[in-house]
Amino acid sequence: MSLLRPETVRSIMLAVVVALLPGTALYAYQYGVVVWVQTGWCILFALLVEGLFLSMRGQPLRHGLGDMSWLVSGWIMGRALSLMTPLWLMLLATVFALGLAKHGSGGLGRNRLNPVMAGLGVVAVVFYQLLYPAPAWPQPWTLDLGVFEVLNLEWVWRATPPHDAIASATPLAKGLLDEAAPYLSWAGYLGGGLLLALLRVIRLEIPLAMMASSVLTSMLLGHTPTEALNGLTLGGWVFAAFFIATDPVTSPDRGLGRVLFGLLIGVLTECIRAFGLYPDGLCFAVLAGNLLVPQLDWVAQRCWPKSWKGRLA
């Protein structure tokens, strides 16, 4: 596998995109063309915003866009926002993500917050009522929407509530009432994440630690082990664990630091899910973890110095 190991920043980013494909495809299979349309919009916005801020900072465009990091950011943004998000909110979230969180702190590699999570967090807090107008409905009512219907529904002020869908009988007709059915995409993301781990683009410490602490916390909160494990397949948990929390720029540099980082995110996610107001538990947990990275690195260095001692043994 080492022969295939990506050796430039661009090939690392393209590897992430390839790894994102199966999960996105599964999601699109369940929820329809809207997934591709939304991802496409976000990638387009990411390209434009990245180009705009690069030229504002006086950086060479070809170089800055050549690393393809905008493609990954846009893709992840498209998948992190809830479906049927209005276009202007997508654009706003992208501006917050790439413009403020990334280029505002000095460009690629300099940001302390995960850009996508920062953008999503701002939008989710400020425009909560527009983003989640009705209780999220787990059934894939969007499956039957064509491209034009999707585009039509995106040029709106507030997200389209899925009221029509509740009345429609499509889920019944498609036999999708099976409880596990709405959350298929996690398998695709898991596969993609493991591929990245094999290519050694990401490390498994963070997802594994997150998994352990998520399961344990939700058991402490009164769920059965099966429910707790099932909770990992919900709401993009796998996606966030493998593609968002593992962002090397915003995660600790030492193994022990990464384990602590994952543990922290898992606990916070479950607590926000259980007691919080917002549905974006993972987003806020990752942001909190990002802020603590220097401290976690410091702790890791104090607890487990890997370096060669300066003294004679």
Binding site: V9, I12, L108, S307, G310, L312
Partner: protein
């Protein structure tokens, strides 16, 4: 740091049991983390025996007078010298004497560009083609370490691995404290095969020299470490050691660059931890390059000073191979001999990792010039422009000294002296593994070199 016993040549159950229960005859060896596997390109040049130059057709030689305390020329222009006669010497105890590589007439005392050193004073000799030896005085007997050190300085011996540290100074160390002699035959850089061929062809002499050193220093253990990508050299050395009844241990090193780095070699072969800024003697070890040991043997047994060395000619050339070259021979003569192909771009002196580009076309070979590589687009693709660090941590993974190159780089960029010291810049052995794996193509190692130079300047 995890240490564990590593099986080497004999992995029989019996020796394993003995090690488990009895008093361990072999000190525990250490493993080190990090390092990179590099494409070797060794077979380009290690297929043919070491060639010798025809003394009759030798061009004028410019023998460099090197050293922190360089020797003074003791010959005059027009004077005839014979091979092996002293042409420069000094009183100080760190002055390495210089000898005539062949017989001929001194034609100039001037500066000359040296392939791996820059422009320094040198003595120009025009060979007379006779290659006539002067008087040779072999040492031949076991002396004490101070005498041997003095002898090594008078015979012009320096470390042939690359740093060129006077061997005499190394041998002056506290002889009582040294209980282990470690010989570096790692040759972990790609392309270079001069030590490989030397170990294959002159294993007997190396073993004899190692035994002699072991007798002088009365060490408990003498051990040579070779990277396992040189199976033939390993086999020849083992055979030679057995044939001579020597107690030289022939050990395979981990097959990772930089296995030959001094702290890592000490760790692999003796299990001892050599802290940055300390000499191997402080942990009871003496480390010598295999070519240096061979040259020492030649000086002790034949009375021949260090006047030639094996140089690898490889890369984009028609006849790659190894040549025994008199010190001071122009590089251009060697390149012409090797037949550099016209599409080459420049010549690399030393290996691709630690070496550098040849600056002067009329440079000469010094005692530390181990390899000349004709660079081509294929073998040395130009390094793409640097992009920002994405903190992928690969540099941390490969750093054999367990440093954090990405933080060091940030500190070096900001000239943050305190941070550089906190991140222990001084421990960096400048192996370049971090620069090699960096997906952003950051000039990590070069920036550390610069930062070190700056720090030294402040003091």
């Amino acid at each position: 740091m995890v240490t564990f016993t590593r099986s080497t040549s004999s992995t029989s159950v019996l020796s394993w049991l003995r090690r488990l229960f009895g008093k361990s005859s072999r000190p525990q060896r250490g493993n080190w983390r990090g390092g990179v596997k590099l494409v070797g390109h060794k077979s380009l040049s290690n297929q043919t025996p070491i060639q010798r130059l025809n003394a009759g057709k030798m061009p004028p030689l410019s023998v460099p007078l090197r050293g922190r305390n360089p020797p003074e020329a003791c010959v005059e222009v027009g004077q005839r010298v014979r091979k092996g006669e002293v042409i420069a010497w000094g009183e100080g105890e760190d002055v390495v004497w210089v000898h005539a590589p062949t017989s001929g007439i001194i034609t100039a005392l001037e500066t000359a560009p040296v392939a791996d050193l820059g422009v320094i004073d040198s003595v120009q000799i025009t060979p007379d083609g006779l290659d006539e030896w002067g008087e040779r005085q072999p040492l031949g007997r076991v002396v004490n370490s101070a005498e041997l050190a003095d002898f090594a300085l008078r015979m012009g011996l320096v470390g042939l691995g690359g740093a060129g540290f006077p061997t005499g100074l190394k041998l002056q160390g506290p002889a009582e404290e040294i209980d282990t002699l470690l010989i570096n035959g790692a040759e972990c850089e790609p392309f270079i095969t001069c030590d490989d061929r030397l170990m294959r062809e002159r294993a007997g002499e190396i073993v004899a020299a190692a035994d002699y050193l072991a007798a002088v220093f009365k060490v408990e253990r003498v051990c040579i470490g070779v990277e396992p990508n040189k199976p033939e050299a390993l086999a020849r050395l083992r055979r030679a050691a057995t044939a001579a009844g020597s107690r030289l241990e022939v050990c395979a090193l981990p097959h990772r660059y930089p296995a030959g780095g001094q702290p890592l070699l000490v760790k692999s072969l003796s299990g001892r931890h050599l802290p940055p800024g300390h000499l191997p003697a402080e942990v009871g070890a003496m480390v010598l390059n295999v070519a240096t040991v061979y040259a020492l043997g030649r000086a002790v047994f034949q009375g021949e000073p260090l006047i030639s060395r094996v140089v690898t000619l490889t890369g984009n050339v028609k006849h790659a191979g190894n040549v025994e070259v008199p010190i001071g021979l122009p590089v251009a003569y060697l390149l012409q001999m090797a037949g550099v192909r016209p599409d080459s771009r420049g010549v690399q002196v030393g290996g691709p990792m630690m070496g550098r580009l040849l600056e002067h076309d009329d440079a000469v070979v010094s005692k530390t010039t181990n390899c000349l590589i004709a660079r081509s687009e294929q073998l040395f693709s130009p390094r793409p422009d640097a992009t920002p660090c994405i903190r992928c941590n690969r540099c941390i993974d490969v750093c054999p000294m367990a440093l954090q190159p990405l933080h060091l780089f940030a500190a070096a960029k900001q000239n943050d002296v305190r941070r550089l010291q906190q991140e222990r810049l001084s421990a960096c052995i400048e192996c370049g593994a971090c620069s090699h794996v960096c997906p952003s193509h950051l000039p990590l190692r070069d920036s550390f070199r610069q930062a070190k130079r700056k720090l030294r300047g402040r003091r």
